[in-house]
Symmetry: D2
Subunit: 346 residues, 4 copies
C-alpha cells in the first residue's frame, strides 16, 4: 500500500481548474517569453488584487530562481541581503545568492522571524564603523511571509521593518513562496494590498499553491522596475512558452481560487495541529499556516511512518524528533481523517 | 482574422499525448526535485535511446538554463567556451555565460557551423603564446545540432571536432535544443547513439519539440558527472515538481514520438522551402531542418505578413529582407497548404 | 653580456626622484588604505592638473585591476562594455571583465581605434531589436589613450565618441595605462583637462610611466562616484600602505615629471622609428608614442636579437615578423644610439 | 605634537634592508610578471625555509587579494569555505569571497579559533542531510595563524584540523598575513616546515611584516598547483614589476630577517601587555603575538588617546572599551617606553 504524503506542498500536480485551462488552450498559437495575452491578463488581475495599478508583474518558474533574480536586480556588487539565519536564501539554495556575488547577512531568527530593531542595529553598525567599505554593505532586507516555519509577521511588525528600510533607503523584499497560506490564515492581520504597500517587491508563489509551477513577482517600487526582463533572461528564468504561467495565474487570480485553495490547506493543518496537541505532543513552533512543527517521541514517529511520509526536521534529542506535517491545496480531507485517527491510536 | 504563425517552434503548448499523461498523473503524489519514478523511468528510456547505459541524465526547464548550467559545471574560472560567433550562447542569452564568469571565445561561423581546423588553430594559438595566462584559456567547445541556422554537421565534421577536443583534453558540448529536428532530417548521417559517443555532454531539447518545456541533459563523460545536481540547484534550475519533466520525457521517448514529431515539422518545412524556391526566392542558408531562411523582396514580405507571422532575421538591403519560416511538431498541414498557395499567388 | 631590453615599459623600477621620496618617507607613520596626507595631497595635485576640482581620485595598484574595478562599478549585471577587438580588456586580462560577470562587446578596430559611428551602430542595433533583453545591453564604452598600438584619437574623434555616449546616456571610460605617452606626443591635440571633460572616468597610469606601480583613477561623472571604495576593497585593490601610491603620485604630478618622463620616451621611440624607416622596414602601425610596430625580415630580427630583447607581436608571413620596440622613461639614450647603429649595420 | 601610532602593523614603509635593496636594483632591467631572477631566487629561499622543495610559490600584492585568489582557485562554484565567524574573509573583505561566487560557511570562534570537532560536525551534517545539493557544499577550511585576535593554534590543534580535512578530502588553507608574528612567538610550538606539511596552501605575509607590500603564497598540495597564474592574472593580482616582490622576499628570507623582525614586535607587545596587566586592566583575549586586546575604562582610554593612536575594537559596556594595541617590526622601543610610562601614570 502506498503511503500518504504529508511531506511537502508540492507532491501533486495542479488544481483541476488550472489543468483544464491548460488543456483548453493547448493548441492556441501565442507569442513567446511572457508577452502573450494570457500573461497580460494575468498581470492585470494581479495588479487589481494588489490594488497596485502601476506595479510591474513578472512570471518566473521557481522560488530559488525568483529569489536570486530579484536580489541580484536590487543589489550593487558590494552589497548584501539582510535575512534570518533560517531564511530560505541563507540555507536552502546552494548559495545561489553568493553565486550572483552577494553575501547573505544573517540575523538570528525567532521562530523564523527577524525584527525591525535587529535590522536597524545591523544598519547602524555598518555605517558607524570606521571604514565601512571593509565590510559588505547591507543593501536590502529579505523576509518570508509566512516564514520557513509557517509563522506570520503582524501588520505592526511589517510596518516597523518597512519603516527602517525607508529610513535607510533600502528595499524590502518579501518572499511569498507560500504567500496564500499566510494571507488566508485566521491569524493574519494584513491583506494583499497592504503587503503590496509595505514591500518594494514580493511574489505570489504558485508552485506550492495550486499551480504546476510559477512565481509572480510584483514590483511596486518604481526604482526597481528598470530592465528587469534582462535579469530574468540572463538568469535562465525566461520561459519560452511564457503563456503557461499566464494561463495558470489567470485561473488562480479568478474566483478567489488562490486564497480558497490556501484556506483549505490551513484548515487541514489546523485539524492535524489539534490532534497532535490533544495527544500531548509539544509544538516546536506555533504556526498558523499549512506547516506544523511538532516534537514526537521516536517510537511514535516510527509507528506513523508506516503509513505516512512526514519530514524529519531535526533530531531533537536521543528520544525525540522534530517533524513537519505539511498540507496543501491538494490534501484530501479523508487522508487527514485517517492521520488523526492514527495519531489518537498510537 | 487571426494570423497563422510560422514564427517559431514554441508557439503552441505540447503534443496531445503528453498533455493527456499530465492530466492522468495530476493527482499522483510524488517526491520532488526529479527523484520520482517518472524521472527515473524517463532517464532509463533516454539512456537506452542513446545506447549509453552509464550516462547521467538530468532534466532542466529551458535552453539558456541548460547551457549556463552545463558550461559552468565544466569550466574553471579562467576558462572560456569556444563557440561560433552566431552561437546561441554568444548572442541570445543576455550574457548568461559571462554572468557565470566565463568568456565565450567566438570563431567565425559558416552557415552557423565552426570547423575542427578553426578550433585546433585557436587552441594552438593559446598554448604557443608567450604567457598564455594573460588570456582566457579555451576550456571546452560548444556547438549546436542543428545550428542556429538549421544546418547540420556531418558525421565526419563532428568526428573531427571530437578528435581535436580529445587531443587537447577539453570536452565537447552539443546544444540540442532542436536535436530531434536534426536527427530526423533526411540529410542527417548520424544517430543518437553516435552523437552520444562523440559528445561529452549534450541535451535533447523538449521545449521546441513537443513538450511544454524541458531539456534532458545527457552526460556521458564520467569526469563531468560529479555534483551536477548542485549546479542545477544553485542555478535556479531544480524544478520542485520534477515529475512534470519526467512524465513529458517518458512520453517523448516512447513510440518514436520524439523523432516522429520532428519528422512532421521537417516535412512541412521542406514543402515551404520548395514553394519558395519555385517562386525564385533566394535561399539564405541551405537548411535541411525545420527552420528555413530566405531572402524576400520587401513588398512580397509585406503581402505575406497580412496573413502570416514570420520572423524578420535581417534587413539585407534596401529592398530585401532575410526572413525565417519555422515549423514545428504542431504545424498544421492545411496552414502550410494555405501559405504555399499564397506564395504562388504573390 | 646582458641584452638591452626594448621589450616593454616596465622593465625597470621607478624614476629616481620617486625612489628618493620613498626612502625619505619610509619611517613616517601613516594611516592605511589611502586615507593618509600623501594620498590627499596627490589627489589635490591630480584634480588641479585635470582642472576638475570636484573629481574623485582613487589609487589602484595595476591596470587590469583598475579596468576591472572601474568597469564593474559602472555596469549593471546584464550590461557589457563596448571595446575594440584589440582592446586590453578584450584580450590581455584573462577574462577579468567576464569574471566580474560582464561581456566585452567588441567592435573591429582600425590601428587599435574604434569610431563613434561604430559605437552608435552597435547601440542602435541593440535598442531597435525585437526583444533586446535577449542580448547583452551595451552599458559603457571603453577605449585606451593611447591604444594598444600606440595610436592616438584626435580631439574630434574623442568628442564624437563622447557625444554618442551622452546621447545614449552611457559612460565613456578611458584606459590611460600609458596616458602620459599619449598627452606628451607631438601628435596629440588634447590636454589633460580636455580629456577629463570628455571622459566620465579615466586613469593616469603610473606603472608604465615612472612609478614602481600605481594607477590613478579619476572619476568626473558624479553618478559614478558613489561607494567606489567598496569596489576597490572587494576587488582586492585596496593597498594597506596606500601612502606608497600617494607619495609616488605626489612626485609624478610635480615639476611636470609625469609628462617630461613620457616626452623622453617618445623622443627615443621616434629616433628608433626613423632608423627603422630609413632602413626601409615597413611600419605596421603609424604610432606617435613610445611603442613602435615594424615588420622585419626574420634574419634581420635574428641578428638584432643577439643584443636586444624586442617583443614578437605576430608572425606576419613565412619570412617576416611584426615586432614591437618599446621605450620608457628609463630608456637610456646611449642604448638607443647602439640600437640605431646596429639597425644601420645589418 | 604628532601622536604615536599603535594602531596597526602597516603604519610604516618597510625594513631598511629591504628599502636599500630596492634602491640598489632600481635600474636593473627585468622581465615582468614575476618571471625574473629575483622572484626565482626568492621562491627558492622560501621552498628551502619550508623544507618543501616541490612547492609552488607565487607572489601577490595584498592579503584580501591573496585570500580571494587562493580560495577561488580551490573551490568549485557550489562550494564554500569553512571559517571562523571572526575570520578575515568573513568580516573584513567586503564580501570578496562572495564576489567570486562562494559562501563563507562560518563556525562560532573561540578567541578567533575554530576546532577540528566543529569542522567535522559541519562536514558530517552536510553529507548526512537528505538532498545535500540544496545547501552549499563545504569545500575547504580557512584558518589564520595567528588569528584575527593574535591567538595561536597548537601543533596538536592544527594536526587535528589537518586530519579532518584529509578524511573529507578538502584542502586546508592557512592565512599567514601575520605568519611571522605567530612562528616567532614564544608560545608557538610549530615551525615553518611543520606548517608547510599540515597546510595544503598558506602564505607568508609581507605587508604587515617588514615589506612595503606582498604576500608569498606557498602551494604544497600538487592538486592545487595547476594554472594558478591564470587565477592571479584574472584577479588583477599579477604585478607588472613582479621583481619588486622578488627583491623584498629575497631580503626577508635571508639572515633570519623575517622572524627577527617579528620577534622584535612580539617583545614590544609583551612589554605593553605586562604594563596593562600590572595596571589591572582586563585582557580581552590572551594573545602571545603582536596584537594585544584589553578592556579599558573609557576615561583612561581618553587620556591615552591624547598621545597615542590605538584601535577601538568594541564598545564593551557604557564605561568600557575593548581596544587593540598593535606593534610591528617598526615599533620603536622608546615609544613603548613612553607608552608604558603613561599607562602607569594614569
Amino acid at each position: 500500500m502506498e503511503k500518504i504524503q504529508f511531506q511537502c506542498d508540492y507532491n501533486e500536480g495542479c488544481a483541476p481548474q488550472i489543468m483544464q485551462r491548460l488543456v483548453e488552450t493547448n493548441l492556441e498559437q501565442n507569442i513567446g517569453y511572457g508577452e502573450d495575452p494570457h500573461c497580460e491578463h494575468a498581470r492585470e488581475l494581479i495588479r487589481k488584487a494588489c490594488e497596485a495599478p502601476d506595479a510591474d508583474v513578472h512570471f518566473l518558474v521557481g522560488g530559488t530562481q525568483a529569489n536570486a533574480t530579484v536580489i541580484s536586480s536590487i543589489l550593487r556588487p558590494y552589497q548584501g541581503a539582510i535575512a534570518a539565519t533560517t531564511g530560505h536564501i541563507a540555507v536552502h539554495e546552494t548559495g545561489a545568492i553568493e553565486h550572483s556575488g552577494h553575501k547573505v547577512l544573517t540575523l538570528p531568527a525567532t521562530n523564523g522571524k527577524i525584527h525591525a530593531k535587529q535590522i536597524e542595529q545591523c544598519l547602524m553598525c555598518h555605517y558607524h564603523e570606521d571604514g565601512p567599505e571593509h565590510a559588505v554593505q547591507p543593501g536590502m532586507v529579505y523576509i518570508s511571509y509566512p516564514t520557513e516555519y509557517g509563522t506570520l509577521y503582524s501588520k505592526q511588525e511589517l510596518m516597523d521593518i518597512h519603516n527602517v528600510c525607508r529610513q535607510y533607503q533600502i528595499p524590502l523584499f518579501v518572499d511569498g513562496a507560500r504567500l496564500g497560506y499566510g494571507l488566508a490564515s485566521k491569524e493574519s492581520d494584513i491583506t494583499m494590498p497592504e503587503l503590496a504597500k509595505m514591500a518594494d517587491v514580493f511574489y505570489l508563489g504558485g508552485t506550492k499553491q495550486g499551480a504546476l509551477f510559477g512565481e509572480a513577482v510584483v514590483i511596486t517600487n518604481p526604482a526597481l522596475k528598470k530592465d528587469f526582463r534582462y535579469f530574468i533572461k540572463q538568469g535562465g528564468g525566461m520561459l519560452a512558452k511564457g503563456r503557461l504561467l499566464g494561463i495558470q495565474y489567470e485561473e488562480l487570480m479568478q474566483n478567489d481560487l488562490y486564497l480558497s485553495l490556501a484556506r483549505h490547506a490551513n484548515e487541514q493543518a489546523e485539524r492535524i495541529q489539534q490532534a497532535l496537541m490533544q495527544k500531548g505532543y509539544k509544538m516546536a513552533v506555533p504556526s498558523p499556516t499549512n506547516q506544523q512543527f511538532f516534537i514526537l517521541p521516536n517510537d511514535h514517529l516510527k509507528k506513523l511512518e508506516e503509513k505516512y511520509v512526514i519530514t524529519v526536521w531535526e533530531h531533537t534529542d536521543a528520544d525525540h524528533t522534530t517533524v513537519r506535517f505539511c498540507t496543501s491545496w491538494a490534501t484530501k480531507k479523508e487522508n487527514v481523517d485517517k492521520l488523526i485517527e492514527d495519531i489518537k491510536r498510537i
